[in-house]
Amino acid sequence: MAESWWVSTLARGLAFSAPLLLAALGELVAERSGVINLGVEGMMILGALAGFAAADASGDPWLGVLAAAAAGTLAALVHAFFSITLRANTYVSGLALTMVGLGLSGLLGKPFAGRPLAHPLPKLDIPGLSAIPWLGPGLFRGQSALLYLGLLAALLLWYFLYRTRGGITLRSVGENPAAADALGVNVYRVRYLATAFGGAMAGVAGAYLSVDYRPSWTEGMTAGMGWIALAIVIFAAWDPLRAVLAAFLFGAFYHLAYRFQAYLAPEFLKMTPYLFTVLFLVLSALGKSVRLGAPEALGRPYLRGERE
């Protein structure tokens, strides 16, 4: 089994990267419209709880995924209202969302804690494809449907952003909202939609954790993954396909760190994803001109008729 370490790195790396990818893709779209949402962690944890609660009550894990998307969307709309309509400080609004999300999910999640989910999402084996040498066993055996959803979303988003009219509109709102406005684009509506999409994806990322990866509810189970997703957006230079690579690199590194657990205290092992995040940000800053890829109007509220 010469390829076993490779297969397990690919398989486990992908499994770990799925929630990061889903959340990062959502945030990427929001940021492309010019809205930074530091509430990813909060939306993710609310999604995780809503997903578990709905899947637990209905017995259908897919209903859980839907409920998670809805919860994430709702939370994102709160951020949209504060940062787009009220033009409050985007950073603080997102932080508030994370705080409320973590607190509220802890409060409402009490009765669900420590209970396993009877019907988690099934793992998929794709016959035929899993026989492909090298890639097959890792990519197509025993993976989550949500991973494929994430990979598919990355492809579609890339096409949407660079090959469709809607994508141009979205990007123009993030680059130069005043010019987009002058061309008849409803800046507020585009930003609302993009932020809502970001929330839905963060919610699904949360559901991946609670109805699939570890089918249960634990307070604070997102453990900073929402923040890592934010870093992946930067590392990926706001490009959906690069986000796939960045998320996978992250998952693979994390898995490889586990292989050193005989030599490393478990606490240092748990530290690695956060250190990797810093390292990745430093590398991406060293590797290219710093603001490359960042939407020009990122984080700047738009007020119609206001000159800068």
Partner: protein, 354 residues
């Protein structure tokens, strides 16, 4: 209806709107409490009796206010300089680690030992903040994310120490260090759990930072960098050095908060969640509520300290979970940023004319 930007709003108006926002957040919390199945009226009565009318309860407010004000005053300075330090939690924890190291293994007796503990806690917290600040100034690495990631690194550093090399010889199955020698304990206000030197430190730190911001060259540079980075470059402000000094001070006072917690309350290094109940994150609200004025964090730290103390009383009397405090704090932050609207804009009810 539309919003028209206005100039500087009068200070009294800003204070009144902020206060209204806090009151609305409290009202929303009571509604939430009712939905949770507890009686809001009983909650008010319980909090009044247990916190406001009871000197020992009020000492608890002060005990919470100390780390909140220390970290919050530092964040006020950081935010003024556009250094988005979300890492006060981690800076507090490494401060606690450094102070514990001196308490357990370091030299010194009596007051000298306590001073040494405070000094290393300050330096440790400051250095912890300077790394992200350096990365921000030199490479434009996003400071929100790096400071936050360093929180997790600090958490696992503490976990490692209390499970591994620093695990107490006399504590058997528990994960914490041995108790500090008595010379490393801060004295308490008689009859309460309040380490009064911590209170003194919080007041002095807030006053010093306010003076620094208002009357020194560094303060001037911070204000210029914060308000107009372009102009700062023309004025010859060395962004790197300014930012590093801000980070040292901001992280340093958060480190002091960690020192006060271990030397004043716990007398040992223990699990991160027991050292800090999210004080570092909550300090963001303290700073923001104080409009990033260090002196104002004395008041706002007290207010959020009250939320923590009230949450403790409610937990015992009404069996509400601790997370309620987090939710109340988050709601305060939301209502506060909503309050930005009447402060920054005039609302005009006439329709827009071409």
């Amino acid at each position: 209806m539309r919003l028209v930007p206005r100039g500087e709003a009068p200070a009294l108006f800003v204070a009144a709107v902020s206060l209204l926002a806090v009151l609305l957040a409290f009202a929303a919390s009571l509604v939430l409490l009712a939905l949770y199945g507890a009686s809001p009226w009983e909650a008010i009565a319980v909090v009044y009796r247990g916190v406001l009318a009871d000197p020992r309860g009020f000492a608890e407010v002060l005990r919470r206010a100390v780390p909140l004000t220390l970290a919050g005053a530092g964040l006020a300075l950081a935010f003024r300089a556009q250094f988005w330090n979300i890492g006060a939690e981690g800076q507090l924890l490494v401060g606690a680690v450094a102070a514990s190291g001196v308490a357990l293994f370091g030299p010194g007796e009596g007051v000298a030992k306590l001073v040494l503990m405070a000094a290393v806690a300050f330096v440790a917290g400051g250095l912890w903040a300077m790394v992200p600040a350096y990365l921000k100034a030199r490479l434009a690495v996003n400071d929100v994310i790096t400071t936050l990631m360093f929180n997790y690194v600090a958490i696992y550093l503490v976990e490692w120490l209390i499970h591994g090399p620093w695990k107490g010889k006399s504590v058997f199955g528990f994960a914490y260090t041995d108790r500090f020698p008595a010379s490393a304990w801060l004295p308490l206000w008689p009859g309460t759990g309040l380490a009064w030197p911590g209170l003194v430190m919080a007041v002095v730190a807030a006053a010093l930072l306010a003076w620094l911001l208002g009357a020194t060259k560094l303060g001037f540079e911070v204000r210029v960098v914060g308000e107009n980075p372009e102009a700062a470059r023309y004025a010859g402000v060395r962004a790197l050095s300014t930012l590093l000094q801000v980070a040292l001070l901001s992280g340093g006072v958060a480190g002091l908060a960690g020192f006060v917690e271990v030397a004043g309350t716990h007398h040992r290094l223990l699990a991160p969640l027991q050292i800090s109940l999210g004080y570092g994150y909550t300090a963001i609200i303290v700073a923001w509520l104080g409009r990033n004025r260090p002196l104002a964090t004395l008041l706002t730290g007290l207010l959020i300290g009250f939320v923590f103390a009230a949450g403790d009383v409610a937990k015992v009397a009404l069996a509400t979970p601790f997370q309620l405090v987090q939710v109340v704090n988050g709601l305060i932050l939301f209502f506060l940023i909503a309050a930005e609207v009447p402060i920054r804009y005039r609302v005009v009810w006439r329709p827009e004319r071409g």
